[in-house]
Amino acid sequence: MKYGYFPGCSLTSSAKEYDISLRKVIDKLGISFDEINDWSCCGATSAHVTNHKLSTALAMRNIMLAEQQGLDNIIAPCAACYNRLIISQNEIGKHSGIRKETEDLLSVKFKKDIKVFNILELFLKSGINKIIENRKRELSELKAACYYGCLLVRPAAITKFDDAEEPESMEKIIEATGAGAVDWNYKTECCGAAHSIARRDIVVDLSKKILDDAITHGANVMVVACPMCHTNLDMRQRAMKRKYPDHKEFPVLYLTELIGLSLGMDEKELGIDLHYTNFKYADTLLNNSAKG
């Protein structure tokens, strides 16, 4: 199956490795992407917290481009982009006034109902079996804390794919890679996201709580599906260390990187070396000879 692809700004810069690993993994699994031409920023938090109209228009511009390109669906790997796109879509679907306003702004008429998928839906739909089939590496030593963050499963009434409080879909994917998943508390707790720069203190506190809970529940790696979560949980560990001296570095991987590892790809290939924290099991895992 062919999917439209909306990488989002982060995946071209601070979350390059997410983009790299995603492309590698889907290539291996025989899924192909068609990137939206000349896509633009979804508007992110900054737009919707300050200007509702702008935020809808920015998000819908990309959906419009996808429609013009003849796509039926879009994969938005960034949880924040996914959330903006799906909420904007829902808004114009529900309120004819906003629909008209947005259509006028973009001088276009939305006709098609383009389905926006997040990364979990992508793998749940067309990945799980293929991951199991192509599994090359034993990952059973890994005990992953699946971190959904706030925007991937909310609001459940609109995302309609997993439970907003006790989601389980990422665990299903993790289990397909052969790694273990721990049950923990902060699966959907917010890391502070957009406050990363302006109120780093908040982000550090919140992210610390999340990492600590994962550690208490026996995880040895955290898996995320959102570049903003990754930035806060990975990059901010340095600041965390300064504020909480007893903080121990804890590896945070993108879901796609973990899948890549199970498919036999190496650390560099997947961009794991671009992280700020060291993935300490990498060596043992990589030496662990392929399974089949």
Binding site: D163, A164, E165, E166, N185, Y186, D213, T216
Partner: protein, 665 residues
């Protein structure tokens, strides 16, 4: 036909804006009107005599009274007509007061309208037909469905009035939720102690036939004449032989396969069991789903130890039919649970409270069992997970209740009180324990209720925090309860050892299907609807079916008991007559033109429409037509408007009569 017209001035109430003599004059000119007169007070004795005398003098067949609303004096004028020898349904009232003189100022306009209203009534009365009240016999026996405190009370009251009662309970014992409670608010009476004597009384009452482990399968008939089919589920124990010695229970090798539902799944029970030691009747049940005998054909331990030979593995469900005149429904409630719900459930679960995955996050009934002296912990407050005594308990009210997002908008009414009671019991039992209650509002309306809550706060030092809890996390064997004290405007986190959720009261399982079986309406939650929220709270809209207890809406024990006694007295009132009289405003099918489409059957809110075979001279069925049971029909007339062949007519409001009114507009 000779019609008499009587225009009332109602003092000056009508005559001040309606020219009554003129109305009477105009009416006199209408065809069929034999006599027309106006008078100051038509409802007074002289006024009524005027009517009676006119009926005699002019040999009238029907009368039209222009007066106040028929809701005021229709009965008065009908009675007057009857005493003068006219059928009461040959009387029409034109509403000249509420609908005319009181609401219009202009004398000319209101006089004209009065004339037109009279004209309509005259045209209608010309087509009215004499009707007689319907008489139906009454079977003086009542069916009580549900053996909780409401059912027990209703059964005892009716039986003590001298009428037979069939009491049906789906569980192996009567007692209901009340038997599970530890102590009751606001007196802290031991629930079992006050309930058990009532249960025994039911068991021993010569007028009460107790059918436990039984369910109502079918209800046919109508008020005074119900025919009820009851399924008695197989106990696999011969009730006549069993002495209740309990030997089978002690010897049953299956100990830990089935949860004890009476203990709210906090303990196990054997495959053969009585729900609790005081069970009535004290006869065990064998649970086929876990018993080894039903799986392998072996074991039979109970069989060996029973010296009365009461074990009967081959026993089957049996059907029993009872004729009753009234039904009292007292099926009670169950608690909403926070678990993740399947797709078609009306309610959603509480993911934020862990969907039930935390073992020490329990509901109110579980706490009752833990606090009960006869419960799994013998009344010591212990955590289900590890048996430790919790030093800090968070109670959360309104879980499910008042939560639109979970699908329940109503207040469950009793939680404020029982949570206060539970916190109090906990503080009495664990002196160094801390009790926190998260609440939104405290609803303590009732005798000694508010005082009780204040006692919990002032004497027992229970800490009330106003705010809903957003999330519960488990951390190192403790439960982090995240709340906000909205009065202080401060976030609150409690690291509790145990959390008790006051979950919403929802209708008992199967309430809706039972309602359909009986033919009574229910609301969107499945609570049964009363006939009138103010004035007929214990009657269902189906004649002869009464409601008692929490099956109608959340209720505490005193309310359930009052309602049960009220329902019983409604049944007793019904039984005071040998036959019932009903208004003859019912629908009737013209079988000659009925096309047998049975749309009427679909729309009838009472299930009054039946299929009737029409036979020819040789007794061969040549068509099916609708037949309306006059005992069941309430006379709404929905069928008449739905009928495609226009073969149904509502007595007193038939098409011809209405057309006449329209024509006379």
């Amino acid at each position: 036909m000779k019609i008499g017209v009587f225009i009332c001035h109602c003092g000056e109430n009508i005559s001040s804006t309606v020219d009554c003599p003129r109305v009477a004059d105009v009416c006199r000119g209408y065809s069929g009107v034999e006599y027309s007169v106006d008078y100051k007070y038509m409802c007074s004795d002289p006024g009524q005599n005027l009517i009676k005398n006119a009926i005699h003098k002019y040999d009238l067949d029907a009368i039209v009274v222009g007066s106040c609303s028929p809701h005021m004096h229709e009965r008065t004028f009908r009675n007057a007509a009857v005493s003068a020898g006219i059928n009461p349904f040959m009387v029409e009232i034109a509403n000249l007061r509420e609908h005319c003189s009181w609401v219009h100022d202009d004398i000319e306009a209101s006089s004209r309208k009065a004339i037109e209203l009279m004209r309509m009534a005259i045209e209608k009365v010309k087509r009215d037909k004499p009707l007689t009240k319907i008489k139906v016999p009454v079977t003086k026996r009542v069916l009580v469905i549900g053996g909780g405190i409401a059912g027990i009370q209703a059964a005892l009251d009716t039986a003590n009035a001298g009428y037979e009662v069939v009491l049906v309970e789906k569980e192996p014992s009567i007692g209901g939720h009340m038997s599970q409670l530890s102590e009751t608010f606001p007196t802290l009476d031991c629930s079992q102690c006050i309930l058990t004597p009532r249960m025994v009384e039911v068991h021993q009452h010569p007028k009460i036939k107790l059918m436990t482990y039984s369910e109502v399968e079918r209800v046919e008939g109508f008020i005074g004449n119900f025919k009820v089919t009851i399924k008695k589920k197989a106990r696999h124990i011969n009730e006549d032989k069993c002495s209740g010695c309990g030997m089978c229970i002690t010897k049953c090798p299956i100990k830990k396969k089935a949860y004890n539902s009476f203990e709210e799944d906090l303990a196990f029970r054997p495959a053969v069991y009585v729900p609790f030691p005081q069970a009535i009747p004290n006869i065990p049940v064998i649970d086929e789903t876990v018993c080894t005998y039903y799986k392998t054909g072996k074991c039979g331990m109970c069989l060996k130890v029973c010296d009365r030979e009461a074990i009967d593995f081959a026993q089957k469900d049996t059907m029993h039919v009872a004729d009753v005149g009234a039904i009292i429904v007292a099926t009670g409630f169950k608690l909403y649970n926070i678990e993740k719900k399947s797709g078609d459930s009306k309610y959603k679960g509480y993911g934020e409270y862990g969907y039930g995955k935390y073992r020490d996050v329990i509901d109110g009934l579980q706490f009752e069992r833990i606090a009960s002296a006869s419960g799994p912990t013998s009344g010591e407050i212990k955590r289900p997970s590890d048996g430790r005594v919790p030093k800090k308990i968070a109670f959360i009210q309104c879980v499910g209740s008042r939560d639109d997002s979970k699908g329940i908008s109503y207040c469950s009414k009793i939680c404020c009180m029982y949570t206060a009671k539970q916190a109090m019991l906990y503080r009495h039992k664990v002196h160094d324990g801390e009790a926190y209650i998260f609440y939104m509002d405290i609803r303590a309306g009732g005798k000694m209720y508010e005082e009780f809550v204040r006692r919990a706060i002032e004497e027992d030092k229970v800490k009330y925090i106003r705010g809903r809890v957003s999330r519960i996390y488990e951390e190192d064997g403790k439960y982090i309860v995240k709340g906000e004290d909205t009065l202080a405007g401060m976030p609150v986190e409690i690291d509790a050892d145990m959390v008790v959720l006051a979950t919403a009261m929802i209708p008992q399982d199967g309430a809706e299907s039972l309602a359909r079986t009986i033919g009574i309406p229910y609301d969107k939650y499945g609570f049964f609807n009363e006939a009138h929220p103010k004035l007929r709270p214990v009657e269902s809209t189906t004649a002869g079916v009464f409601l008692a207890g929490a099956c109608q809406s959340p209720k505490d024990i005193p309310e359930s008991v009052s309602m049960a006694s009220a329902a019983a007295s409604k049944a007793i009132i019904l039984f005071a007559n040998d036959t019932l009289e009903r208004e003859p405003v019912v629908a009737k099918v013209n079988e000659d033109i009925c096309a047998g489409c049975f749309y009427c059957m679909k729309v009838c809110p009472y299930g009054a429409v039946e299929v009737k075979d029409v036979k020819d001279m040789n007794g061969i069925v040549y068509k099916e037509v609708a037949y309306i049971n006059q005992g069941v029909c309430q006379g709404c007339g929905t069928c008449t408007a739905t009928c495609l062949s226009k073969s149904i007519e509502l007595a007193g409001f038939n098409n011809e009569e209405i057309f006449a009114e329209i024509a006379a507009l």
